[in-house]
Every structure is written in structure tokens, then in C-alpha cells.
Symmetry: C2
Subunit: 215 residues, 2 copies
């Protein structure tokens, strides 16, 4: 299996896809990107469902045809296959800390942002949850999601007053998910980092200067 045969099915506007694009750029891994047109509901086509039965982006397809969905699983494959420039820590302890903090950012920042957006957008009526099944929007989740994003900002401002990166003293997938969360909450919910959250703003400026972040 040639590593050069990696194919990433993705959409430029999808925050989950951006989590993988930044990872690839930071590692210097080349993958052919294949666009999936979410506005045209291409993820529900038979062709895409054959690759990803959950009908979500992104999907990484390996040279042997194995299709890997879910961002942490894609990262896991790539980190094993391309160990240089580790982004999930170096030691068992660091790997656990990167995994823990990335998940905490996802649970407390990324997921509430997505939930607030999906339960509000008229175009997602009847599609409040990504995946194979249709579920109606629940308006109460919009306000709750926004409140949770504000709590996330306050909690991680406190965290980043004590450490340089989300997982501690090394750049990791936890910073990637936090960065994608801030940018998407700013754009889709008009919730930028509050001005008085100085540590979080300082971290954001630092991370923004990395070349892979524009991916």
C-alpha cells in the first residue's frame, strides 16, 4: 500500500474536515482531496454512502481501499503511519493528555457550537444530527449551545493562563480542535473570544501564526 495513495473526501466549509486539513498541513502529509458537495447533499448519494455509511465528512480512504471515518480515527491512523512531527504527544503520558484535552475541547466547545448551528439553520430543518437518520431540530439547544460556548471560553481562558498549549507544554490535536471551534463559533454564531479573555486571545494569536492553520 503506497502512502501516496491517501484520498480525503471532504468539504471546505466543514469544521470537521478542517480539523483533518490542519493536521495534514502541520504534519506535511500529502493526500488527494476529493470534494463532497454538502449543499447539493452529495453525502447522501449511493456512491458516497458506499464509502461512509454514516454519510458524514470527512472520510480518509487508504491505498488498500479501507475507508476511515471520524476525525479521531483518521488522526489515529495518520499518527501511526506518519510518526514524524507528533501531534498526539510523544510518550504514553503525553498521548493520553493530548487525547484527554482534545476530547474535552470537543465535548465542551466544538460539540455545543455544532449543536447550536444545526438546531438553528433553516437549511438543516429535520437534520439536527449529522448521520443516517433524520431528527427534528430542538430550539432549546440553540440557546443552551451558545451558553456552553461562553462557559468553554471562560474555562479555557483560565487553563491557558497557566499553560502554553491546551494539552500543556506541546502543540497538539487539542489546539487544532480549539482553533477550529473558535473560528466556527465566531463565524456561525457571532461568538468571538471576549476581549477580556486575555490568555485565550494570546493563545489564539500564537496558534494563528502557524503555517498549517490556514488549511
Amino acid at each position: 500500500m503506497s502512502k501516496t495513495e491517501l484520498k480525503l473526501y471532504q468539504s471546505n466549509g466543514s469544521p470537521n474536515c478542517r480539523r483533518v486539513r490542519i493536521y495534514l498541513a502541520e504534519k506535511g502529509i500529502c493526500a488527494s482531496t476529493i470534494p463532497v458537495d454538502l449543499a447539493a447533499k452529495e453525502q447522501f448519494s449511493d456512491a458516497y454512502a458506499a464509502i461512509n455509511p454514516r454519510r458524514v465528512v470527512p472520510t480518509l480512504v487508504l491505498g488498500d481501499g479501507t475507508a476511515i471515518g471520524e476525525v479521531p480515527a483518521i488522526w489515529r491512523y495518520l499518527e501511526e503511519a506518519y510518526p514524524d512531527r507528533p501531534l498526539i504527544g510523544n510518550t504514553p503520558r503525553e498521548k493520553a493528555l493530548a487525547t484527554m484535552w482534545e476530547r474535552q475541547v470537543e465535548l465542551e466547545g466544538f460539540n455545543p457550537t455544532m449543536e447550536a448551528v444545526r438546531n438553528a439553520a433553516p437549511v438543516l430543518k429535520g437534520r439536527a444530527i449529522a448521520g443516517s437518520h433524520d431528527y427534528e431540530q430542538i430550539p432549546a439547544l440553540v440557546e443552551r449551545g451558545k451558553r456552553r460556548v461562553k462557559d468553554f471560553y471562560a474555562d479555557f481562558n483560565a487553563r491557558l493562563a497557566e499553560v502554553g498549549f491546551v494539552a500543556g507544554d506541546f502543540f497538539s490535536i487539542a489546539d487544532i480542535t480549539a482553533m477550529v471551534t473558535v473560528d466556527f463559533a465566531t463565524k456561525a454564531l457571532s461568538l468571538p473570544i471576549p476581549n477580556d479573555h486575555m490568555a485565550l486571545r494570546r493563545w489564539y494569536e500564537l496558534i494563528s501564526s502557524r503555517p498549517g492553520i490556514a488549511a
Copy 2:
């Protein structure tokens, strides 16, 4: 750091803790378990918050004092430190597949079960989401959660008609989370596997016979 110094802060009734207990039993890893009394709200004590600022169980504390929260992060540490009897796959491809399927079970089965329970239980009023912040229950999430559990059963019945284990042809963390989900949905939501879901029932019988599953 001695591996024998592992301490697991946990509660017997917590499904998240059971995910770790089964993993430890299947691997044959010994850890001292330290009970956290959730009924007495011990997770909100200053002593526990110093170990896990999110105030959730379980937490694994290593010999050097490092505290690891979040089930996938605890598994990640243990799988690195104790590579024998792999439960997250053997190769990069298998590791990615185990991670993908375990996450899919969590998103589509485990999380909806927990959401339905947390938004219904009178004792959890004002505590609909585990963690440091208080959020009110949303009754609509109870019915949605139950519907999602039924969709999960149907989808994974179809999957297990084609493969022996959730992640394919090897036992993994994906089976552990699926098992904990079925047992908790049965007990807390009165949602057992439907009688006509033959493949899922066959899988359940097979997994139930493993010695570690009673953990």
C-alpha cells in the same frame, strides 16, 4: 514510575466507569480502585476536583501523579503502557477501525442513552450535562434519545449480520462500549435488544460469555 501504582477513581454504577473496568479485566491489568460516591455528590468535593477539574468519573491516576480523565484517553494510556492483548487493534489500519467503530457506538448508542437518562431523572434536575456547569434538563431529549437508541439497535443489528465483532473480525473497545450501552439502555430506559434483532442478540450472547464483561 511503577505500573502497579495505578489508581482508578470510579463508581460502580457509572457506565463510563464500566467501560474502563471491562477494559482492565480483559487486559489483566491491576489498578487500585477508589470509590467516588456520586449519590453523595463526592465528585464535586474539592479533593476530587483537584484530581479531575471536570468533576466526572472515571479518572486514572498514574504513579507520577498525572491524572487522566475521559475514557478514550485512559484506554489510550493503558494500551500504550500495556501492549499485550491489544483491544484497540494491532496495525495502524486496525487501530483506526477500532477507534472509528467505538466512536460510532458512542455517538449513536451510548450518548443517546446517557442523554435520555440525564434529561429524565428527577435527581439530575439542573444537571443535564455531566461536568463543571449546571444546565437544565430538556424534556424533548428524552424521547429523541430513546428513538436514537432504537435506530442504533437496528443499524448495529445489520452490521453484526455481516461481521463477528463491531469493528470487524477482532474483539475491541467498540464491543466494550456497545455492551455497556445495551446493558444500560436495558436497565435505565427499559430498552432491551428487540427479539427480532437476531444478529445483535447473537453478538450479545457471545460477548457476555467473556470473563471480563462482568466487571
